[in-house]
């Protein structure tokens, strides 16, 4: 037999089998067909569509990562230490598909122990249905540094676990500055729709209230981008090929607020529903703005943010409300200052003219009583303001000044209109008019309405800031500056001043020096001999002001308590003057607290003391009621 053994020879010699040879050839043909088919597909994948797949491979690994721009810091007027800053927090992530099959439960229990969170939380974030998903899932936000350090040391025991850093906003002054600074939070889809064209994206952190919201654009900065090659774990593969567009940090803001005065005012108001405004009349700079109840903005962007937010949102004392600008009340007797100015300026009454104040003033069915049962008898306008005579001012308003002039003065002084302070959500309050009443109540204006307004009741509604402005206008010779919180914008990196806010006159009321002197003198008399003389005791500054006690409803035993004042009464240096407006709502126990709080605030400001020091000092001098 030769070497060249052929198929046919084998087939003929094998007696046992019959046809494997031909069947083998059929099988070989099937194999060949499959090979050709697969080869064709491989050719189409690699050669024909190769470029497409190569592009896709590149785009799979080329990813742009956002480099979050640090949010600008916020300083008070001393610009020495931030009142809103940033710190770094860690988010622990898990890529469930990187965990070996069947080891999820074990890994979760170990991870839960290490991170000190319930296992249920991990199971909740990463349910079994997601075990095959190649994507980082946040399992713990706001992780502490030491947890992450600990995790880093044991990272080989935790396949699929990684972490990213996220900047967190911090507010060292917490509740004290909450309404003023506001708070930040993740952008909502509704906000994103509106702000998308201004460079915000789905993971933007956004100012939600206060200064944070008002100046969000300046604070945001511009996010950078790192375009690089990343592996499936999200790790950057090579530094060298990475293009980096560095982030531009947000601008720093310097506010007009003095954190010491803010603290003083907050403590002086204490735990009473109400608000305090302290401002500089000759510039409109807000030195302090306090509203109670408040909230801790640090809790609104953090691990417990949802529960904290829910709790605050359902609190019926409305802690988010900035009562200094977002609440309006009847100004009560403080409004008598405006009548005094109007009557004197219009020469409707002389400084020495006497009006006899009966115990009761009747017009139609409206009855105005004096707060002192026997009434005051004959009063000039200074005495009337000092004693806060309701009958005197009812008469003055209704019979001397008249409805139209009174309302026009109210409007000129800025009531019923936004002050234009740089805070979102300011309220305008109400200055009624004949048309307004017709529209609202479908009844005509009556003299009783004028009488009501003359004593700061009725349809009149003002914000504490507007009332502070009224005083500022009188202190400032009829000129009113826009109240503002922003003082300077500074570069977030080197701190160079990029812009300063200049005082801006928003109202100018023509008042003669005589009128101004008389009104200020009358306000001084309120403190020296009048209604406030027993509670305004500070020896460190001469104060001029006016109390107010607003009726909420006839049945109530409680009243809103107002006190608006400025000090020093007389000075050669207008820059040292401050206006203080305190409003304590009727919901609180009646303590006549507004002037008492103002007394401590003035004492603290002018003796450079804290609240406790002021109280102690006044107590030692036996000046604290």
């Amino acid at each position: 037999m030769s070497n060249s053994h052929s198929y046919s020879k084998r087939a003929s010699s094998g007696a046992q089998y019959s046809g494997q040879r031909s069947r083998g050839l059929v099988f070989g043909a099937v194999v060949t067909l499959f090979f050709l088919g697969y080869l064709g597909h491989l050719f189409s994948l690699q050669v024909i569509e190769g470029q497409f797949h190569a592009t896709r491979a590149l785009s799979l690994s080329r990813r742009g990562a956002t480099l979050a721009a640090p949010r600008g810091e916020i300083f008070d007027r001393h610009a020495d230490k931030p009142i809103a800053g940033n710190r770094t927090s860690f988010t622990i992530q898990l890529n469930p598909a990187r965990v070996p099959n069947g080891q999820h439960a074990e890994l979760f229990s170990d991870l839960a122990e290490l991170l000190d969170v319930p296992v249920a939380q991990l199971n909740d974030r990463v349910p079994p249905s997601s075990y095959h998903i190649h994507q980082e899932i946040d399992v713990l936000t706001w992780a502490k540094m030491e947890k992450v350090t600990h995790l880093a040391e044991h990272i080989h025991e935790f396949p699929g676990v990684s972490w990213i850093t996220t900047p967190v906003r911090t507010y060292p002054e917490s509740e004290t500055m909450a309404h003023l600074l506001g708070h930040v939070g993740r952008i909502t889809s509704r906000e994103l729709q509106v702000l998308y064209n201004e460079g915000y994206h789905s993971s933007s952190i956004l100012g939600k209230s206060g200064i944070e919201q008002q100046y969000d654009q300046q604070l945001q900065g511009i996010d950078g981008r790192r375009i690089g090659i990343f592996d499936a774990h999200g790790r950057s593969v090579t530094e060298r090929e990475t293009e980096i567009v560095p982030p531009e940090p947000g601008d720093n803001l310097v506010l007009t607020v003095d954190r010491h005065i803010q603290q003083l005012a907050a403590e002086a108001l204490g735990e009473r529903l109400g608000s305090v405004v302290v401002l500089k009349p000759n510039t409109g700079e807000i030195l302090a703005m306090v509203s109670y109840p408040s909230f801790d903005p640090n809790t609104l962007y953090g691990r417990q943010s949802n529960s904290a937010l829910a709790q605050l949102q359902t609190d019926d004392r409305a802690p988010f409300l900035n009562r200094a600008v977002q609440s309006s009340y009847p100004p009560a007797s403080t409004f008598k200052i405006l009548l005094t100015a109007a009557a004197l300026e219009e020469d409707l009454i002389g400084p020495d003219d006497i009006i006899y104040a009966h115990p009761v003033y009747r017009i139609g069915n409206r009855v105005v009583r004096e707060w002192r049962p026997n009434g005051f008898g004959s009063l000039n306008i200074t005495q009337a303001l000092a004693n806060s005579s309701n009958v005197f001012f009812a008469t003055l308003g209704n019979e001397y000044i008249g409805t139209d002039l009174l309302l026009s003065y109210a409007t000129e002084f800025g009531f019923g209109a936004l002050t234009g302070i740089d805070l979102p959500g300011e309220r305008a309050g109400v200055v009624p008019s004949r048309e307004w009443k017709q529209n609202e109540f479908n009844t005509a204006w009556v003299q009783g309405d004028t009488v009501n307004i003359s004593i700061g009741q009725g349809f009149l509604d003002v914000t504490p800031l507007q009332l502070a402005n009224m005083v500022a206008l009188l202190v400032n010779d009829g000129r009113l500056y826009r109240p503002h919180l922003l003082k300077e914008v500074r570069d977030g990196v080197d701190g160079t001043v990029l812009g300063r806010v200049e005082p801006e006159v928003i109202a100018e009321v023509g008042l003669s020096q005589d009128t101004l002197a008389l009104v200020r003198g009358a306000m001084r008399e309120v403190v020296r001999s009048g209604t406030a003389s027993s509670v305004i005791t500070t020896p460190s500054v001469a104060i001029a002001g006016k109390t107010g006690t607003a009726e909420v409803d006839a049945a109530s035993e409680n009243w809103h308590s107002w006190f608006v004042a400025y000090g020093p009464y007389d000075t050669d240096n207008p820059d040292e003057q401050v206006v203080v407006a305190v409003m304590v709502e009727a919901e609180n126990k009646w303590e006549w607290w507004a002037p008492r709080a103002a007394n401590v605030i003035f004492h603290g400001i002018f003796s450079d003391m804290s609240y406790e020091e002021s109280r102690l000092d006044l107590q030692q001098r036996r000046l604290l009621w």
Partner: protein
Amino acid sequence: MHETRSHSIFEFDILLFFSVLLLTIVGILFIYSSGVTSTGIVFSSEYVRQIIWAGIGLLLMLTVAFTDYRVYRDVAVYLFVAMLLLLVITLLFGRVVNGARRWLGLWQFGIQPSEFAKLAFILVVAKYLDYVANGIRKLPTFVLGMLLVIPPTLLIAVQPDLGTAAVFFPLYIVMAFVAGAKASHVGFFILSGVCVLLFTLLPTYEQFVLERHSPLISVLSESGPVTILLASLVLVVLLAIIGRVVTKRRWFTAIAYGVSIPALGVAASVFVRGFLRPYHQLMRLVVFLDPSIDPRGAGWNTIQSVTAVGSGGVWGKGFLQGTQSHFQYLPQQSTDFIFSIIAEEWGFIGAFGIFILFFLILLRAVLILGYAKDAFGAYVAAGVAGMIFTHFVVNIGMAMGILPITGLPLFFLSYGGSTLWTGMIGVGLLLSVYNRKYR
């Protein structure tokens, strides 16, 4: 003259041997490549172990090659029974890796009995076919032999390892076909198998890929309609059989033949779907049709693998330069998707080379089955060829995104001692058959 030739130890299929050797070396290279990270750090020592296994595997291959394969005919039944026992033990005491109980191990060493079960199955089927000889042309003999498929398939399916479990049926089909089973019988079961697959996957396809209600498909997944459908199909078959018996018309046979294929498909699909549902496997089996429906989940593997293969282009990205692989986008690179990394780094040229080597091995196997001195040798050769071919088709089909992800390794290339040894012992059997072609 015969005697002298058969005694020469160099009388051995050099081409087959070197194809296997070359594939194994390429396999080790790319197992090394798969263990290198994007930053160039070698994090896996799998390639070292594969070298050791390849060394032992070559010894096993040569030992088998120089042993007379007819020895195995005598012990085939014992080997098969022993292997089934091993599978039972694996189910009871096996080590759970990646959620499946596939491993039987002592200390650090472990084997996957399911791999070796294929060889025992080939031997026992070869023995059966040899025993029944021409009787395989009869339907009952053909079907009886098919019963051998059931125990290993079930024992491996419950591990669960669906890919490996599904290999036994095509092995039997290939071997029985080569042994001379009627084309109509073989065709019937191939078509039924296709029907089972189709009917099993269609409802899942409707749910995830089509994403709309299709009444034609819903019939298969709702218990009421499926019963009616099955009953009516069975009724048609019965009527056709009765018609055949009564009228003796041949076309009734054709009707019975044609209708029982879908009937078998529907019946089996209900069973298979019920079996697969708890393993979340159906989604994986269907998602290759449209990986984008779950790109980060079930579709991830398909997308990453197709991208790896496609992005290799004509010349490839170069050894150790693959981005899909080294950036860890490609999963299971050293086992299931070893072909993808080769195709990515060596391109169409390299992948074509792999095709050529496998084609050479299969070509030699087909020739050897023709050369075989006796029927048993031919059947064993057919079985080994069928095994290597099935793995090739399923694994590379999976890597190219035209078959579902079933996790079947590629012989000689994929990492894993059991698979490598199974492949090499299989080739050893081929060589042994070739060696003794004149004896």
